[in-house]
Amino acid sequence: MKLDSKVPDGPLAEKWDKHKFDMKVVNPKNKRKFTIIVVGTGLAGGAAAATLGELGYKVKNFCIQDSPRRAHSIAAQGGINAAKNYQNDGDSIWRLFHDTIKGGDYRGREANTYRLAQVSNAIIDQAVAQGVPFAREYGGEFANRSFGGALVSRTFYARGQTGQQLLLGAYSALMRQVNTGRVEMFPRREMVELVIIDGKARGIITRNLITGELERHLGDAVVLGTGGYGMAYYLSTNAINSNATAIWRAHKRGAAFANPCYVQIHPTCIPRSGDYQSKLTLMSESLRNDGRVWVPKKKGDKRHPNDIPEEERDYYLERKYPTFGNMVPRDVASRNAKMVCDEGRGVGDTGLAVYLDFAQAIKDFGRKTIEERYGNLFDMYKEITDEDGYEQPMRIYPAVHYTMGGLWVDYNLMSTIPGLHVIGEANFSDHGANRLGASALMQGLSDGYFVLPATIGDYLGREKLEKVTTDHEAFAEAENAARERIEKLLSIKGNKTPKQFHKELGEILWNYVGMARNEKGLKTALEKIPKLREEFWQNVKVPGTADSLNKHLEFAGRIADYLELAELMATDALHRTESCGGHFREESQTEEGEALRKDDEFTYVAAWEFKELGKWELHKEPLIFENVTLTQRSYK
């Protein structure tokens, strides 16, 4: 396997335009002869399928939910970044690029990140034309807010439902193409295998989630926009059906997996309350615009927060980072929350929480303004915790949220399998070791609307593809593999439910491959994970049959994949002995406890090639920085 990033030559700011010119363009008349399989209908997949259909390709689009509109992107709350500089506060493409590269702790690819910043403005134009009701000021101009890791207000939002509105925009564009017949929708389908013919991605096997039927789909290229793998941790802010199955099964057929250990743990989530908990609820980071984070100065202070006087409170983010204060990037905020809780100063019943306090903001701006800004979040908090965030500080704790790692892709968003393209959270490409808030929506839509539709044409224009049908032996082999896996799962009839295994795996990952990692812990994880996997394949109890709607069978298949992926996450985390962004190795920190990179050793993307279960070969893509200087990140 050779990694070729295919980054075009030339000055950073000109690369994308030059590349667009150099790429092959498919003759419009020929486009309809190509079939493109797009898996996923989130911001990335939905935008890509809609745009490809509009360009004239035949598109087959798949999702797990009953409707493309329900992809997990729908849950994004806070906003989307763009370098419009409408606030005239000094923003620019260059600044957005620079903030994103720095926020990612210099572990991202310069050219990709720059392109992302460049495309960001067109995304806002697109969404507005689709009728996305972004927040406005009284005169009709756009309202913007700021997010962690930035000193400018460049985040566009639609109340606390930005992801929903952007996804509905993409979904309506998609449904328009469904209406023209150019896009064929396949909801309630799960991709369970990738089909490779003559070394190229040519199709997928899906399971019809209602009838259980395994179906063969042939195409000229395959696009995965299947989201992140945060669900490996069991508890996360992700939706219940989020999964790693599509990317994992592609990985096992040859797609390199990049930086699997880069996981983002979001600082502002509602703490866990009991064993029954099925997910953790995020409260938008925008809350940190007005909320102040604190814990008592004294250990084990059990007083009601409102009874703790000002001078006995430690606003630790404001104290340690006077410039950014409560607006430090997520990794920094999360790690600091863990630190104060480890010191015994955590609050709430479990001691695993810190306060997010709006008393000051309510005093300054009035309750009505705060209600207008965050009303739905306060309501949600109340419903979940039975506590009133207007009357007393909220309790928050970090939770697994986003995965920066994913399938390795080149500048064209193509994986190491020719023809297999990967977009959105499923790839590794734009955020380095930590993603800034409001940048995932930007990336998903950039990939889906603007980048992939251009680069895939170049691939189709260049490649000569063999004429085949779904009777090809590669389809039969892939379908058999899927069938055997399902039959095996159902035949074990052991004593533990899939969920019990998932919870156990989640605990291992959270404890050893979580917010702070060390050699000993990672080695422990690497002992425990294969053992748990072995037990799973001997003792899992999957109910029901293969030929019907069977949610627990779906879960079991996904958990089987996490049990393999988790080992790679720990392997990657162990090999990277530096700290960077969301990957904090306790052995590598500054005297002040900040993440300490080792640029001489680790300025590369770790791309893992699957060899056999539990065995990978590491390939390195060196990261070359020609336009920014690597510095120790400082948010002081």
């Binding site: 809609a50 509009e54 939910q65 009953d66 409707s67 493309p68 509109r69 329900r70 729908i74 849950a75 134009d125 697109q126 507005v128 034309a129 689709q130 009728g131 996305v132 009701p133 927040a135 406005r136 009284y138 005169g139 009709g140 101009e141 756009f142 639609a158 109340r159 439902q161 929903q164 509105q165 309506s172 564009a173 449904m175 328009r176 469904v178 209406n179 909801p187 939706a239 219940i240 059906n241 009991g274 029954y276 908990q277 099925s278 019943d349 949600m380 419903e383 979940i384 609307y449 603007f450 539709p453 439910t497 969920k499 109890k541 109910p543 029901g544 019907s548 709607l549 949610k551 627990h552």
Partner: protein, 251 residues
């Protein structure tokens, strides 16, 4: 502080597949923590059922935070259950009392056939959207965002309408199984924004025609839809849809 746990009885609609005949089945769930979500309570029951070699109850859900619109069942006769302005997944067990019996049924409406247990097919909504729920713009070929200035109030009003999550509770609650609130909300969102105006007439006609074709009933102003809507979308949406429809047919 330990919270007092609940013992709950359930009567759940079980139906093997689309063509099978369904019936209610009784279950009991013990020691339910009141902070648990309704769906977590069902998760716990399903775990027990699996270990007892019974078939778990199927119900749709995904985000579990009231935004994806995938969940939904009729709880004690009310779509999405006892708390107004909430989806099924947002309901917490503290809204029930120890010893309560909870009746759980799927959405019941002809255009939403039951697929299994509490899972229904809501794809009719997608077809209505495909008929006209969009602005016909091309990727990339659009004007700069500030070309459209939208005053704060208008943007907020459009957002109130755009907040629809497509869960189908409005249809389930309506005695006529009308989809008017769903369609009205989409039509209104676009009608309120300058970007949506050029196609307003064509859109409302196409969406209403598709709604009729799917077999949704007519709206006779019961207002049940508004009462169960988890996003509290006002029936003003329906009035606006009618106005738009009338304007379109006069042209």
């Amino acid at each position: 502080m330990e919270k007092k746990t609940l013992n709950i009885k359930l009567k759940v609609w079980r139906q093997e597949n689309k063509d099978a005949k369904g019936s209610f089945k009784d279950y009991e769930v013990k020691d339910v923590n009141p902070d648990m979500s309704f769906l977590e309570m069902l998760d716990e029951l399903n775990e027990e059922l699996i270990l007892k070699d019974e078939i778990p109850i199927e119900f749709d859900n995904d985000c579990r935070e009231g935004i994806c619109g995938m969940c939904g069942m009729v709880i004690n006769g009310t779509a999405h259950g006892p708390k107004s302005g909430s989806t099924t997944c947002e309901i917490r067990m503290r809204h029930f009392k120890d010893g309560d019996t909870i009746l759980m049924e799927p959405w019941r409406a002809k255009p939403f056939p039951v697929l299994k247990d509490l899972v229904v097919d809501k794809s009719a909504f997608d077809r209505i959207m495909a008929a006209g729920g969009y602005t016909s713009v091309r990727t990339g070929g659009v004007p700069e965002a500030r070309t459209f200035l939208v005053p704060h109030e208008k943007a907020e009003e459009a957002m109130d309408m755009a907040a629809c999550i497509g869960c189908g509770a409005c249809v389930a609650a309506c005695p006529n199984a009308s989809a008017s609130l769903f369609v009205g909300a989409k039509v209104s969102q676009f009608a309120l924004l300058p970007q949506g105006r050029p196609e307003a007439a064509r859109r409302v006609e196409a969406m209403v025609a598709q709604m009729d074709e799917e077999g949704f009933g007519a709206c006779s102003n019961h207002g049940e839809c508004e009462a169960v809507c988890p996003k509290e979308i006002s029936i003003k949406a329906i009035a606006r849809m009618r106005r738009e429809y009338l304007a379109a047919s006069i042209k």
